[in-house]
Every structure is written in structure tokens, then in C-alpha cells.
């Protein structure tokens, strides 16, 4: 007999998790507490140990999928016949049958502890609703003729658990029939009754929770068309998604590979990407920053020809063999130099204090498979140029592999975003929350530049800086930007450090 493991709530009140990676495959044998899967919740990445021993029969959820707690995720066959959970599962229902005083003990094999508050609350509500039903029990035909058994004691309530369940079943059926009736009403079945004015008939809307309702509205779906499967006859999110998927399938058009959808497909022309993980964190951080810190942005065009030459020389230098040298390295060094001269840009604003950091944890915005991350180089001020080059390489490599640790991203004091690698001239970056300065490094390309009254081609870039005006005034940000620009124009000034 196969044993099913359902996704538990591993935090407090988590309702879903992403399946990151399976540590076992079908056919593997597992022992109790062997790690079988790694999941990611809103709070953390967690390894789940197997509650059973036996052979993995099937993995019920694919990697990368997001599933709700309580969803069966793995089936494990055979193993220990006296498996504890078997006992558990058979025990609960029998106990419930004996112990009528506790309708909370309804047979519910899936309702293990911690399967999330969502499942919990749905169950409780379902029981409470029909609870008063036993009161009119004498009306029930099957019960009325039964003679009282000898020794029978009449209590306060004349119901019983089996009866109560029966009533609950009847109630559910009635609700369903009622819903059917409502659905057959002219207001909903537009074709059924010809000539009747439909507007005057009371219209009961299909049941659905507000997010589902909103989604349906956005998708242009009439909820009345969707088959509801919810406990209370409501259209669930899954119902809506199934319906939409069904519509998409049935109206599938020939140009599958084409990005653009023809209008004829109806309203299903909008692709929905769930906002979660890094995207969600980025969105939160950016809107927090944009709406709390008054940004002031300034720009400066820089002749970076000498920087390019310097980079070229470093590349050739035996000392830098095997180390990747880019203009970003010079810029990073320039930022450290300029921050020491204008310390207030390397700070944190709190409403009562400006915390000036006498160290530089230099953040580098990096596009990674997980999304935008800003890992930082701790104590960058202590690093030599070569050490800084190595640190930059490590940081970007780690980020690209998606292995950046949360601690790598905390405690940043200033950020550089290297938009130049994408061929962009400049932009107005948004501050990393907790910092008061950020610098966008534009692309470096040859442009006409006036030197001593003559137009000559030079390597030119644009620096775009954004600053939190609460902490950094215009003159200070200008001085800082000018200092950075000065280094790019003449890296030899670094010798001054």
C-alpha cells in the first residue's frame, strides 16, 4: 500500500511552497527522516525529511511548481507495515465516531497538524454552518418513526453524529440544487426564456472570493460560465485557471510560435506572470525607496579615455594575469575614493540621525537568473586594486550562478549599477533601501569630444547618480560626482589615495 506525503506547513501559517528540487527519484528506497525534497516558502528554503520508509513510487509534483499545503507530493510504497502513520490514519476516524462530543474530530486523514490555516479555517466553517441543523431533527422522516430504545435518555439535543452528517449531506445537496435552480433562472440562462425582460429578475451572483472575482474581471471571464468546485460552491482560483486554460486550448491558433495573439482569440491575450520571490522583493524595495526617499539625480559626461588605457595596461600587467579587469573596477575604486572625500554619500538616513559609515560595503547590482540582486563587497575600502578586481569577479560569478547568500546582500552602504554593459548611456537609478547614494555607469563609446578647441574622438561615458535629498544636498552630490568623474578622467589620481 502506498503512503502519501502531503506538503506540510513548515512555517507558521504558510499556505504554499515551491518545489525546488527532488533529492530522490522513483524507485529509490528511503528511510524515515531521509531528506527527500527541498522546498522554498515565503520564509525560507527547507529540506523535508521523509515520514515513511519504503520505495519511492512516484513524485507527484514537478520541480519548479508552486503547490498549496496539503497537496500530495510523493507516494512511497511498501516499507514498514506497522508504519506509524497508518495507525494514525485509522485511529482518527474511529476516535471521532466514538467521541461525539467533539465534532472537531471529524475523519479527515489529510488534516494533519500544521497543514496551514487556510485548510483549517475552511474545515471549521463547514462544520459550524450546519451545526444548528440537528435542532429540527424530528422533521426528518427517517428518524421520526423510530421508537425510543429502552433505557434511552433524552438529552438537550436530540441529534446524533450520524444523523448530523446525514443532515449535513442533505443541506449540501439542497445548496447545490438551489444553485442549479439559480443558474437556470432567466437572468443567468439568457437563452432559456425568450422575450422575458431579464433585468428585473433578482440575480444572485456566482460565489467567489474577491481575488478570484477580480482576476475573472481582468480576464474578461464571466464567473457564471466557470464550473465551481469550492467547498461552498464557490469558484476557486484553480477553477478559474482551469477554465482559462481550457478556453486557451479550444481556441488555440495555428501560429503557436508567434508572440502576438490575434484579437480573435478573445480576451486571453494577456500573459500573467506571478509576482513572487526576487521580483516581489525588488518591487517592494524599489517602491519603498522611491516613495520614501526624495531622489535627486544628476549626470555628468566623462572622457574615460585614460581609464580605457589604464585598463588596457593592467590587463597586460603580469600581476593581473588571470584577473578580469574592466572599467567597472576603476569606477569602483573611484567611488571609494570619492566617498572618503564626501562621506555623507556613504550613509543611512533615519529620521533622527544620519549614520555615516566609516567603511564601504560596495553593492553591485547584478542581473541573475533569480532576478536583480545587489550583493556587496564587504569593507571594499581595505582592498587593493587587485583584490578589488578579484572581489568583483567573485561577486558577479556567484550572482550569475544564483548562489548569492542573503548575508552577501545585507549591510550595503553604496551601490553601483552597471547599465553600460547593456549599451545604455545613462539612467536615473533608484536607491537601494538603507543607502543614500547610487551610481549608474553608462556605456563607454567613442564620441566626438572637444579638446583644446578641436573635435576629436574620445572614449566617453555618462555617470548618472541618484541621491537621497534628505541626507545629501545638491552641492555635496555634485562634488561627489565630480570626484568620481575626475578619477575616470585621470586614474593616476588614485595614487593619491
Amino acid at each position: 500500500m502506498s503512503q502519501i506525503f502531503e506538503l506540510p506547513d513548515v512555517g507558521e501559517g504558510l499556505t504554499e511552497a515551491d518545489i525546488l528540487s527532488w533529492k530522490v527519484a522513483e524507485g529509490d528506497s528511503v528511510e524515515v527522516n531521509d531528506v527527500i525534497v527541498e522546498i522554498e516558502t515565503a520564509k525560507s528554503v527547507v529540506e523535508l525529511p521523509s515520514p515513511y520508509s519504503g520505495t519511492v513510487e512516484s513524485l507527484l509534483v514537478a520541480e519548479g511548481e508552486t503547490v498549496e499545503t496539503g497537496t500530495p507530493i510523493i507516494a512511497i510504497s511498501g516499507g514498514d507495515e506497522s508504519g506509524d502513520d497508518h495507525k494514525q490514519r485509522t485511529r482518527v476516524p474511529s476516535e471521532a465516531a466514538e467521541d461525539e462530543a467533539e465534532p472537531d474530530d471529524e475523519p479527515a486523514p489529510q488534516a494533519l497538524v500544521g497543514s496551514g490555516p487556510k485548510a483549517d479555517s475552511v474545515k471549521r466553517r463547514a462544520r459550524k454552518r450546519p451545526a444548528p441543523a440537528p435542532r429540527p431533527a424530528p422533521q426528518e422522516p427517517e428518524r421520526a418513526p423510530q421508537p425510543a430504545q429502552p433505557g434511552e435518555k433524552k438529552g438537550l439535543l436530540k441529534g446524533s453524529l450520524p444523523n448530523w452528517q446525514e443532515l449535513q449531506g442533505r443541506a449540501t445537496k439542497l445548496v447545490e440544487e438551489g444553485r442549479e435552480a439559480i443558474r437556470r433562472m432567466p437572468a443567468n440562462g439568457r437563452n432559456e426564456v425568450a422575450g422575458e425582460p431579464t433585468g428585473s429578475i433578482p440575480h444572485r451572483p456566482t460565489l467567489a472570493k474577491p481575488p478570484v472575482r477580480k482576476a475573472a474581471q481582468d480576464l474578461g471571464v464571466d464567473l457564471a460560465d466557470v464550473k465551481p468546485t469550492g467547498d461552498n460552491g464557490q469558484v476557486t482560483k484553480q477553477d478559474l485557471m482551469n477554465y482559462v486554460a481550457h478556453i486557451a486550448e479550444t481556441t488555440a491558433h495555428s501560429e503557436d510560435g508567434d508572440f502576438w495573439n490575434a484579437e480573435s482569440i478573445g480576451d486571453d491575450r494577456i500573459e500573467r506572470i506571478k509576482v513572487k520571490g526576487v521580483r516581489k522583493a525588488t518591487a517592494r524595495a524599489m517602491s519603498q525607496s522611491a516613495f520614501t526617499a526624495p531622489h535627486v539625480s544628476i549626470f555628468v559626461d566623462v572622457d574615460a579615455t585614460r581609464t580605457m588605457e589604464f585598463v588596457k595596461r593592467l590587463k597586460k600587467s603580469p600581476k593581473y594575469e588571470g584577473v578580469k579587469v574592466t572599467p567597472l573596477l576603476i569606477l569602483a575604486k573611484a567611488v571609494i575614493y570619492a566617498a572618503a572625500r564626501n562621506p555623507q554619500v556613504n550613509a543611512t538616513w533615519t529620521d533622527s540621525e544620519i549614520l555615516i559609515k566609516h567603511y564601504m560595503n560596495l553593492g553591485i547590482a547584478a542581473a541573475t537568473p533569480r532576478g536583480l540582486l545587489v550583493p556587496n563587497i564587504k569593507n571594499a575600502q581595505d582592498l587593493t586594486l587587485r583584490e578589488l578586481a578579484v572581489a568583483l569577479n567573485d561577486l558577479t560569478a556567484t550572482a550569475r550562478e544564483g548562489k548569492t547568500q542573503p548575508s552577501d546582500m545585507s549591510g550595503g552602504t553604496f551601490t553601483i549599477t552597471n547599465i553600460g554593459v547593456l549599451g545604455i548611456d545613462t539612467g536615473t537609478p533608484i536607491l537601494n533601501p538603507g543607502e543614500v547614494g547610487i551610481l549608474a555607469f553608462g556605456t563607454i563609446k567613442q564620441k566626438p569630444w572637444v579638446v583644446d578647441g578641436e573635435v576629436i574622438p574620445r572614449w566617453v561615458t555618462t555617470l548618472g547618480g541618484s541621491f537621497d535629498h534628505r541626507a545629501v544636498d545638491g552641492d555635496l552630490s555634485a562634488r561627489f560626482m565630480a570626484d568620481v568623474a575626475a578619477i575616470l578622467e585621470e586614474p593616476a589620481l588614485l595614487l593619491d589615495m
Binding site: 506525503f5 502531503e6 506538503l7 506540510p8 506547513d9 513548515v10 512555517g11 507558521e12 524515515v32 527522516n33 520564509k43 525560507s44 528554503v45 527547507v46 529540506e47 523535508l48 525529511p49 521523509s50 515520514p51 499545503t69 506509524d84 502513520d85 495507525k87 494514525q88 485511529r91 476516535e95 467521541d99 461525539e100 462530543a101 467533539e102 474530530d105 494533519l112 497538524v113 500544521g114 497543514s115 425510543a148 430504545q149 434511552e152 435518555k153 433524552k154 438529552g155 438537550l156 439535543l157 436530540k158 441529534g159 446524533s160 453524529l161 450520524p162 444523523n163 549614520l355 559609515k357 567603511y359 560595503n361 547568500q405 542573503p406 548575508s407 545585507s410 549591510g411
Partner: protein, 383 residues
């Protein structure tokens, strides 16, 4: 961020930071201390083996409970991994008549007090609010509200001063009063209740031992942010003795606790012990420690965990391999029994709740219990 911390220069110990007591160092070598070594002289190898066994069972229990939570069988779990010496050692130094007020992480103390795994897990499985009868073990229910147990303990200890014979019923040969132990952590130590408790305990000379396990992290706040000086330093401000011990050194913990309890029993009032230990696991299973502490820190702290140190010492003292092998087998079996008892927990009978309202019978509660019984019997006819 730690970098933003102002470091306080304390060249000549102007704050009176207590010296850190260590009797068994990181390399498992005995250290002599004139004052404290005599307190553990009577502990022979066999006794230490028993203590080691309790620590191992605690570790296994904790691991099993963590796994059960990950399998959806417990709603939550607060691991005590790494704190076994502080917990088992201090519990070992108590007498049965001493009354203990735990937080929610004192699994090693609970096991030492004879509470069985199922009783301990009932709360975390959501089956019961407390799985044991506190009076049966002189071990209060777990307190989930941080620091709330500290004023309870202090009040109980103040009561003992008025009701001197209370604990002696258990030990008629002793003319000493029982003591009260309040367990809490470094995080709780920053809460107001702890301050108030210490003020009251000092004012009323309450026979209470404040036993702080400083596990270095208050969820995600490091100890360096919580306090500029070790917590034990604070005792001087209240006017009683504060001891600072290596909380991963079983002998130091036992010696300090015995010394403190001796003083308390002799009527000298409260004592504070800070056991410096380290939480190897998460704050609770709802927390992800990798978000606030580095792997390097965890690795270096793991090197100093208490069970390995005691094992090394025992082996050096001549404990045979067979002891460890047999214990491993026992521990494995124990893990399975922990799992079993958790999964087979029974819901309490509703009637039991009526019995817990008052210590002695109360007419109103009896009336309600009567009503409930009638109500219940109303269902029985249909069976």
C-alpha cells in the same frame, strides 16, 4: 549590522564583568577552580555517563521533533540543539522539590525531570495546552510568551518565603527550603519583566535562580546588539551575585548551579547564572537562520558543541566503546519511540478542562460540568 556597533573599551573591567567559569575546556581537559571544583568532586564517571546519556536523548528527541515538524506532524518546533549541557547540567543540580519555570525551549530540563516525549510534544502538535501536570514534576507548563515565566517564578519564590514548609513535604529530612529556577534566554533578558523580576527578587530576598541560556541570538538579533556586557554583569546592579559560565561545559554548569542553589537554600536570596552557549538550530522551525548568520559562524560554533566535548572527556577517562555503541542503539530506538508517541497522542477529554479551573471543587464549575454531561448524553441514544 555589527559594523555599525560602537565598541566600548573596557581596559580595566570597570563594569565588573564576572570571570567566565570553565572546568572542562574546549579540548575536554579539566581546569581547576578553587571555589567551584569542589562542587563537582563527587561526580564519578558513571554519573557523568548518565548525564551524557540524557544529553544524547535530548539531542535525538530534538532532531526527531524537528523532522516531525517538517513532515507536518507538529505545528511548530523550537530546537534546543547545542544547549544540552546548559539544560541537562542545570537540571541535574536541582532537587526534585525545586520548582522550575521554563520557557519553550527547555527540552533537556523537561526530559531530566521525567516528562516523556509525548507529553512534551502535545503542545507543539496542537493537541493540548500542556501535556503534563506541573505538580507531578515540579516543572511548570512551557511559556510561549517570552519572559512571562520570570515574574511567575519570582512570585512563586516570594510565596515560598511565606509558606516555608511547602516544599519540605517531599523531603522531610531537609530543613532547607526548596528553590525556584527561572529559565530564559538572552532575548528575554532584554524585556522589562526580567528587570522587574530581579528588582522584586532582590527586594524580597526570593529564593530564585535566574538561569539565562545565552545562545547568542534573539531570533535574528545577535547578542552583540542586545548587550554591551555579559548578562551576568547585570546582577551586581540588583545587588545579588551573577555567575558567568561556559554553558557548553557540563561540569561548570553543574558546579555553578549547585553553588547557586546552595546559597539560595541557605536564605541568601536570588542568584543569576549566565550560561554562554550557542543555538545550533533555528530559533523555531518557522525561521531561516541562514538569513542572518553565516555558515562560517555556525561551523566554528559547532566545533564547540557540548556533547562532543563530554564524549571526549569520558573516553579519556576510560569509558569503553561498548558504552557508546549501546547508547547509540538506545538512542535510535528512542527516536522511533518519540515519533510513535507524537503520532499516537490522544486528544484530551473535554471533561478534563472542568477539573483544571480551580484547585478544589467549585459549585459553578460543577454546575457547568453537569450541564455538559447532560448535553453529551443527548447524543448517545443513537449509537
Amino acid at each position: 549590522m555589527p559594523e555599525q556597533q560602537t565598541t566600548v573599551e573596557v581596559p580595566s573591567n570597570p563594569w565588573g564583568i564576572p570571570a567566565r567559569l570553565q572546568l572542562l575546556n574546549e579540548e575536554a581537559q579539566l581546569q581547576h577552580d578553587d571555589k567551584f571544583s569542589p562542587y563537582v568532586e563527587d561526580i564519578d564517571r558513571e554519573t557523568l555517563q548518565q548525564v551524557y546519556r540524557t544529553m544524547m536523548l535530548t539531542r535525538r528527541f530534538d532532531d526527531e521533533a524537528t523532522a516531525l515538524q517538517r513532515q507536518g506532524q507538529l505545528a511548530l518546533w523550537a530546537p534546543c540543539k547545542g544547549q544540552e549541557a546548559a539544560q541537562v547540567g542545570s537540571a541535574f543540580a536541582t532537587r526534585p522539590e525545586d520548582f522550575i519555570f521554563p520557557s519553550y525551549r527547555e527540552h533537556g530540563v523537561a526530559i531530566s525531570r521525567g516528562i516523556d516525549p509525548g507529553e512534551l510534544l502535545a503542545l507543539f502538535r496542537g493537541v493540548n495546552t500542556c501535556g503534563w501536570k506541573p505538580q507531578d514534576h515540579n516543572f511548570q507548563a512551557y511559556t510561549l510568551v517570552l519572559a512571562a515565566q520570570v515574574p511567575h517564578a519570582t512570585g512563586y519564590a516570594m510565596g515560598l518565603n511565606f509558606d516555608a514548609d511547602f516544599g519540605n513535604e517531599r523531603d522531610p529530612n531537609s530543613d532547607e527550603k526548596p528553590a525556584v529556577l527561572a529559565y530564559f534566554g538572552d532575548g528575554s533578558s532584554t524585556e522589562g519583566e526580567v528587570h522587574e523580576s530581579m528588582v522584586f527578587a532582590a527586594s524580597y530576598n526570593a529564593p530564585v535562580l535566574f538561569f539565562v541560556q545565552n545562545n547568542q541570538w534573539a531570533i535574528s538579533v545577535p547578542f552583540s546588539t542586545q548587550s554591551r556586557v555579559p548578562i551576568a554583569t547585570r546582577a551586581a546592579g540588583y545587588g545579588f551575585e551573577g555567575l558567568r559560565v561556559d554553558g557548553n561545559d557540563i561540569l561548570a554548569v553543574v558546579a555553578a548551579t549547585r553553588y547557586a542553589l546552595e546559597k539560595i537554600r541557605a536564605g541568601e536570596g536570588p542568584v543569576l547564572i549566565e550560561a554562554e552557549t550557542y543555538r545550533l538550530g533555528a530559533h523555531t522551525t518557522a525561521d531561516d537562520p541562514t538569513k542572518y548568520r553565516t555558515n562560517e559562524e555556525l561551523e566554528s560554533r559547532t566545533l564547540h558543541e557540548p556533547i562532543g566535548r563530554l564524549e571526549k572527556y569520558l573516553r579519556a577517562q576510560g569509558t569503553p566503546d561498548s558504552f557508546f555503541e549501546e547508547l547509540m542503539a538506545e538512542v535510535k530506538e528512542y527516536g522511533a519511540s518519540v515519533r510513535n508517541s507524537a503520532l499516537n497522542l490522544q486528544n484530551p477529554r473535554f471533561e478534563d478542562f472542568f477539573e483544571r479551573v480551580y484547585a478544589s471543587a467549585h459549585p459553578l464549575v460543577q454546575e457547568e460540568a453537569q450541564w455538559f454531561q447532560e448535553y453529551q448524553e443527548g447524543f448517545e441514544e443513537q449509537n
